[in-house]
């Protein structure tokens, strides 16, 4: 359990070789080993959605996967998605609509939203609410999040492209 195992994976576009204990979760590896603290852990049993990351393009709970299981996979975290501006329009819409308060659920919400819009570019409000059913938020009451995702779906359908999120003024 505590003997370190070598591990190769791609994280945010970079191929890494690192060591992990067999019992270490992917979430812990990302947070502790790689200092990617934008991936949060809220329940460590796969129900709150705070730890969602993209694994080979699909959302997974980083708390439910052992790090060694990610061998050979391509992982994208909130930091990587931000850097490549893949979710800049979602981030802008969340910001404008105040679709976050404490921000702890937000990276997971953005991952879910991105995956939803990839498979269903124009979801109804009910479909958005359904897609968010694995993402717990204690602060907002969800409506602003639904609004923000709905706005982005509409903008993407109209072909709008957002500037990089970090370049926007406050």
């Amino acid at each position: 359990m505590t003997t370190l195992r070598p591990l190769s994976l791609m994280v945010n576009g970079e191929t890494l070789t690192c060591f992990a204990e067999p019992r270490e979760t992917l979430a812990d590896l990302l947070r502790r080993g790689l200092e990617l603290t934008g991936t949060h852990t809220g329940c460590e049993m796969g129900v709150c959605g705070a730890c969602l990351v993209m694994l080979d393009g699909a959302p997974v709970h980083a708390c439910l996967l052992f790090a060694v299981q990610a061998e050979g996979s391509a992982i994208e975290t909130i930091e990587g998605l931000t850097a490549k501006t893949a979710i800049a329009d979602l981030q802008c819409a969340f910001h404008d609509r105040n679709a976050l308060q404490c921000g702890f659920c937000t990276p997971g919400m953005l991952v879910t939203a991105q995956a939803l819009l990839a498979r269903n570019p124009q979801p109804s409000r009910a479909e958005i609410r359904d897609a968010l059913s694995g993402n717990y938020c204690r602060c907002t009451g969800y409506e602003a999040i639904v609004d923000a995702i709905e706005t982005v779906a509409r903008r993407r359908a109209a072909g709008e492209v957002a500037a990089a999120f970090a370049e926007e003024p406050a």
Binding site: T2, E21, R23, R31, L36, T37, G38, T39, H40, T41, G42, C43, E44, M45, V47, C48, A50, T77, I78, E79, T82, Q91, F94, H95, D96, N98, L100, Q101, C102, G103, F104, C105, T106, P107, L110, R125, I128, R129, D130, L132, S133, G134, N135, Y136, C137, R138, C139, T140, G141, Y142, E143, A144, I145, V146, F165, A166, E168, P169, A170
Partner: protein, 791 residues
């Protein structure tokens, strides 16, 4: 007040404008810095062995195997930490007769609830600390747990803790007017017994603390996910005997709090001592299972209540008995009695009646402590009152709206003293009710309900008026001897480049405190908002203040910022007048430029004034005092609390075969005085409503007869999720408080205060054709089917 006051109502004022939160951008980019993220050099990790029993004596502790485990640096017991840390007691002087056992970071010989931390292990990694916890051997001698509140109050009951004469923590009786005569003369009396389950905050970031004792300087730095850094600076200082000025508490980004993160937790106090013993930084983050068995729980009331009415449906009197179970200790430093106190004082608050009697019993038992959580006491008082008002309306043959029109305190009847001892400056119940019925299209909903009933679809409509406590003065805690500040402080300073920094004691947990403070400072100074930076959450940099609790950030923190900014503005204009050889009263600052007040002609920029003051004071006339930093404190004066009010409506559909309730829509009209940022206020209200709906339908800490929590995980404890929650429409009435220039009151508890009451009334409305009713929350499908007689 003259010229600057008008600025609040300028068309281009920042006050009253929806602007987004500058500090939210880093959270969206995954660059939040929560305590859970922090790593310090040589940092160690703590884990705790927890009691498997609700009540037991510790007979023997064997640490030998654990001490030999890999990575273990330190193991500490209650006795070890008691040598460093003075015990604490959760009582307040103004709650007469209140008692509670003394508390230590870790217990000395008796454990009082299942999950109580008993032994601390500090190791190089959290996993190693947890491994070592597994190797600790403790002999527990089981004692009978006190679980049931009625049994707890029997004279010969087992005691929840050694040394207690009985299990009554606090009792309170209120009696005003002639309640017996009013009930004797009543045309109708309606009564009910209500049950409110325990629930808990479930912040998505659990409790987290990182203590760093530096013996070389005698300094303690604690990074603490809390709302109230100053309160903890004071507590760590006094309980560990470290001078206050050598204690720094930093609250960085906090992943939700809602009142839960302002209480003293045994593990948190222990971690400070562990850092002292280890001589290294020690971190503890509660995992989710630990959160459920150690974060404060909330509510847990059984209320028997009745109201007396005359033949026309006028409420004459109210009589209430509230028994609330608080766990084995009263929490510290705010106690576990404030919730019950507010329950009995907020009962019937929106209504006109004069005769009132209440009895409160706060009872010890062997469960997790209950204490203040969002909307302390409000949801209980509101649900009891509003359900009884609906029952009375049915009895008097009145529609619930007509019943409220008849009995609410009229908007022109203020100031008003409640029979429970509160004084209301100005509320707007009638306006809010009128507004709500329009927003809901109430008549149409009633017509639709009747039509749908005919086809077997059972919808319910519920409304609930409420009063909310905000802007508390020292009457809340200070007079009870607690060192919890009711005032706040701010430092506002101009940088050499003509930007402004505001360091203020109110804190941010995502509600937007920093944003509204920035709006107020920018507005009052006459600066673009982008040039104001607000800094909070660090005792080393801001003045001492109460921080964020009980809805005081906007009302008290905002007024502090307003007054500080006005002072700085005077200083800037006075200096500008010296430089320009003009008169201060002829000048104004707009958009960062000092202008001629009358013509608006630009005279000199703030940046230029700052440059001269900081780098070329030699060019100023002798004796010029350039004061471009201002420190200012504000304590609420006038009314002891700024009460707010509002009303909520809930529309549900009940499946009478399954007991499932679909929440169709929810409405809120609330009056928080001056609205600084409508976007943020609306989202505070929505979030609050959803917490109230969670309590109404899902959330309950369920215990077995041995005092064991049986659903302590996020898979078993149900929280409201997006797919179950409705869209929530919000309207506002603005009745300013005249106690401040800003006129703002709180809005953070409004949503939670009445959402469960509106839902309870809505479900009962849906049940009414079946002559069925429910008086318990959460309203689970099982309980609803039982109410319907189906199981």
């Amino acid at each position: 007040m003259n010229a600057p006051l008008g600025a609040l109502d300028r068309p281009n004022s920042y006050i009253g404008r929806s602007v987004s939160r500058p500090n939210a951008k880093r959270l969206l980019a995954g660059r939040g810095r929560y305590v859970t993220d922090l790593v310090l050099p040589r940092m160690l990790h703590a884990a705790f062995l927890r009691s498997p029993y609700a009540h037991a004596r510790i007979s023997a502790i064997d640490l030998s195997a654990a001490q030999a485990m890999p990575g273990v640096r330190l193991i500490a017991t209650g006795a070890d930490l008691a040598k460093l840390c003075k015990p604490w007691t959760g009582t307040l002087d103004h709650f007469r007769g209140m008692k509670s056992p003394p508390q230590f970071p870790l217990p000395l010989d008796e454990v009082l609830w299942a999950g109580q931390a008993v032994v601390a292990v500090v190791a190089d990694t959290r996993a190693q600390a947890e491994d070592a916890v597994e190797a600790i051997l403790i002999d527990f001698e089981e004692l009978p747990p006190v679980v049931d509140v009625d049994a707890a109050l029997e004279p010969d009951s087992d005691r929840a803790a050694a040394g207690l004469d009985d299990n009554l923590c606090f009792g309170l009786k209120l009696d005003s007017g002639d309640v017996d005569a009013a009930f004797a003369a009543a045309a109708y009396v309606v009564e009910e017994e209500f049950h409110f389950g325990r629930h808990t905050a479930v912040t998505l970031e659990p409790r987290a603390i990182l203590a760093d004792w530096d013996a070389s300087e005698g300094r303690l730095t604690v990074h603490h996910a809390t709302q109230t850094p100053y309160q903890f600076q004071d507590l760590y200082s006094r309980h560990y005997g470290i001078p206050e000025a050598s204690v720094r508490v930093v609250a960085p980004d906090v992943g939700g709090s809602f009142g839960m993160k302002l209480h003293v937790y045994h593990e948190d106090m222990a971690v400070v001592g562990l850092s002292v013993l280890a001589g290294r930084p020690v971190k503890f983050v509660a995992d989710r299972m630990e959160s459920f068995i150690s974060d404060i729980h909330a509510r847990d009331h059984r209320v028997r209540a009745r109201i007396a009415l005359d033949a026309a449906g006028t409420i004459l009197a109210m009589d209430v008995d509230d028994v609330t179970a608080i766990g084995a200790f009263s929490s510290y430093p705010r106690t576990s009695a404030v919730e019950g106190n507010q329950v009995v004082r907020l009962m019937g608050a929106p209504y006109r009646f004069r005769d009132y009697r209440a009895e409160l019993s706060a009872v010890f038992q062997n469960k997790v402590q209950t204490s203040q959580y969002r909307a302390v006491g409000h949801p209980i008082a509101c649900a009891v009152t509003e359900r009884l008002v609906d029952m009375a309306a049915a009895r008097a043959g009145l529609d619930p709206v007509a019943m409220r029109e008849k009995n609410l305190i009229p908007d022109d009847a203020y100031p008003h003293a409640s029979p429970t001892g509160y004084r209301f400056e100005a509320l707007s119940h009638e306006k809010c009710l009128k507004r709500l019925t329009v927003m809901m299209d109430y008549e149409r909903l009633r017509a639709e309900q009747a039509e749908l009933r005919a086809s077997g679809i059972h919808r319910g409509i519920g409304i609930a008026s409420f009063v909310e406590i905000s802007n508390p003065s020292p009457a809340f805690y200070g007079i009870g001897g607690a060192r919890i500040s009711a005032q706040d402080g701010a430092i506002v300073k101009v940088t050499p480049s003509g930007e402004v920094r505001c360091l203020i004691s109110v804190t941010e947990q995502g509600q937007g405190t920093e944003t509204i403070i920035g709006q107020i400072v920018a507005d009052q100074l006459g600066l673009p908002r982008e040039r104001v930076r607000v800094i909070t959450g660090d005792t080393e940099v801001t003045p001492h203040g109460g921080a964020t609790w009980a809805c005081r950030g906007a009302g008290i923190g905002g007024e502090t910022a307003l007054q500080a900014a006005r002072k700085l503005r005077e200083n800037v204009l006075s200096l500008a007048a010296t430089v320009l050889q003009a008169k201060t009263f002829e000048l104004d600052m707009r958009d960062g430029v000092i202008v001629d007040l009358m013509t608006g002609a630009e005279r000199i920029s703030l940046a230029e004034i700052a440059r001269i003051a900081y780098f070329r004071s030699d060019t100023l006339p002798p004796g010029t005092s350039a004061q471009l930093s201002v420190a200012h404190h504000y304590a609420p004066q006038g009314y002891p609390f700024a009460f707010t009010n509002g009303i909520q409506g809930c529309h549900v559909e009940l499946d009478t075969e399954t007991g499932f309730v679909h929440i169709l829509k929810h409405w809120v009209v609330e009056d928080c005085g001056r609205i600084i940022n409508p976007l943020l206020v609306d989202e505070q209200v929505r979030g609050g409503v959803v917490q109230g709906l969670g309590a109404a339908f899902f959330e309950e800490c369920r215990y077995d007869g041995n005092g064991q929590l049986t659903n302590g995980s996020l898979a078993d404890y149900l929280v409201p999720m997006a797919c179950e929650m409705p869209d929530i429409e919000i309207g506002h009435v603005e009745t300013l408080t005249a106690d401040t220039a800003l006129g703002a009151k709180g809005c953070g508890e409004a949503g939670t205060a009445a959402a469960s009451a509106a839902a309870l009334n809505a479900v009962n409305d849906a049940l009414s054709p079946f002559r069925a009713s429910i008086a318990q929350i959460p309203m689970t499908p099982t309980r609803l089917l039982r109410a319907l007689g189906k199981i």
